[in-house]
Symmetry: C2
Subunit: 343 residues, 2 copies
Amino acid sequence: MVQPKIRNMEEFAAVSGISRPTVSKYFNDPDSVRPSTRQKIEAALEQHDYRPNVFAMNQNRRKTKNIGVVVPNLADPFFSEIGRRVELACIDAGYSPILLSSHGIPEMESDNLESLRSLKPAGVLLAPFGRLSDKDAVQAFDRDFPLVLFDANMSDTGQAYFGTDNFQSIDLMVEYLCRSGEPPCFFEMKSPSNPNANKRHQAYVESMERHGQTPHIFQAEGEGWNFEEIGKVEGGRLLASNAFKTRTVLCSNDRLAIGMLSAAYALDLRVGHGPGCHLRIAGHDDHPFSRFTCPALTTIAQDYEAIANRAVRTLFEMLQVDERLPTRAEMLFEGRLVMRDSA
Amino acid sequence: MVQPKIRNMEEFAAVSGISRPTVSKYFNDPDSVRPSTRQKIEAALEQHDYRPNVFAMNQNRRKTKNIGVVVPNLADPFFSEIGRRVELACIDAGYSPILLSSHGIPEMESDNLESLRSLKPAGVLLAPFGRLSDKDAVQAFDRDFPLVLFDANMSDTGQAYFGTDNFQSIDLMVEYLCRSGEPPCFFEMKSPSNPNANKRHQAYVESMERHGQTPHIFQAEGEGWNFEEIGKVEGGRLLASNAFKTRTVLCSNDRLAIGMLSAAYALDLRVGHGPGCHLRIAGHDDHPFSRFTCPALTTIAQDYEAIANRAVRTLFEMLQVDERLPTRAEMLFEGRLVMRDSA
DNA sequence: ATTAAAAATTTACGCGCGTCAAGAATATCG
DNA sequence: CGATATTCTTGACGCGCGTAAATTTTTAAT
């Protein structure tokens, strides 16, 4: 630190007593040099805080140490949570995650992928919009870079996909609700953009039929990402007009449920499974705030940790062997029933 | 598009009929070339989707078009919301925002600044931890790059600071609460990391004294970012033991309030200002979920938009004239009282 | 048309590092 | 100890672009 500043790898190689090409090799992969020389370099590193110029590094390098992470909307706590875990996993692996949010705008997803192109990422983790994604753009990107999808699936796109088994999770919830009270109706967005919503719809119908019950679907008008507001307004209308044929409502996701809980409270309808309660409301996702709703929300916890870790791990395995997967991997993790007070 | 791919600026200059140095100039600043040549370049751009290599671009360039945006914790909806706005404002201005979260870990803030150094950012927008920030590291960074702080202030650090006037906003809330019912006590974290918390504490005391009332402070044990949980546990304990000397509680921030609302619900205490209500609870920040709590939370809305825009604008003004501000700018925006049902 | 100013071109160099080939040094093993 | 396999050094080239100086072309103004 006391020495005059090191300007480039040439100078750093000089003070560390190692040739520049070897130093270059070290920075690419510290394990690729002999332990004795690694020690010399690392000793020098502690004395002369030198760090290679990332721009010069990446210029000639085919693949950088950058990992793109693209989520549809960071303002949604679900994505900030799972994005957070993915980010940390990348850092642990010695990569530089670049977190990009599409701010709820599908077109921006393509923009983000386009921006990533110029950063020559070693790989990309994408939680796509799904139906609203530009499938051609994503598939084109998939051809040029190692791409792993998570949260939302897109057929024949990406080298792998990791998400929650909505059929298992919804069935788990339907089973619980049927066993413990009236069979649930289903509350969802009318035109959801996320493919999970469609799967959950289908899963609900199938599960209800398997239980010998008649499915009842209620759909909320509205576009965009304001799920709580939509749940509150549309759910409130349905509650006020007594439209539900049952006193148990399964919401397609927690954010809708949070809105509906708010509406129920305003209508003085006591939500829960205890005596004196008017209706039960359940959600899906174990949203970070679902523990603090009134009453606390019964929901399905997605295995964030497993999804994030497996997606990252799979990507890194591809990077190691430096080839595409022989066959598209697809793994669904089970949801876990979280019983709280609302249902 | 039909032509063979352009490999570099040399080839692109050839097909556009302009010399490479001029093309280079164009990409630095499209307005720096004659309109007629700009048209030629842009015409060529539409035919041969060429984009300059960012790494080669930034290698020799002193300042890049990168803007660093560092927030303490993206998992907090407050920061994901304000980070979102800052990001979009940067994109509008033709810069590339790089959003970094410190994941609630103060040491990671310094790491993030260190990472940013190697990206040679044109400027950085930082929402610091405050007391827990490594002040020396931040100030050192301030000397090397244009730095603007927002949300949390640090004395003599950064070229400018933009945030909310906690004294104004807390006074507004205290005034309202006193006028409409019992004077509030104050509920906060015992050892808050955020400087805003200290200001709010002080603002509460001063405001109460100005109103001729005796301030009462209640502090919650607990560390970390689990404010809702802390609010629920500690707030619940205080409510259950009837420790509050008043039936109006002003929480230092919405997340604590959300936790306390949850505890109150569990205790069957009706919150609100109407008849039959046991207590009033108010918050601060207009957290995205405060509209959907039960009851909806009365709070102070921070002017996210203004804070984000002014911070970004101030930074860009510095970049334009390419010099530090003659004097450290500091501007506080007023909070807005949002009256809902909880108080 | 003349002239000065502005902009574009030509030529050339350098940035910091990746990477390759050939040879020298070192390590590993029987 | 010698033979072979690793690893390192030396020297050199190139990546794609920024940028500077000198020259030529274009534009604007008289």
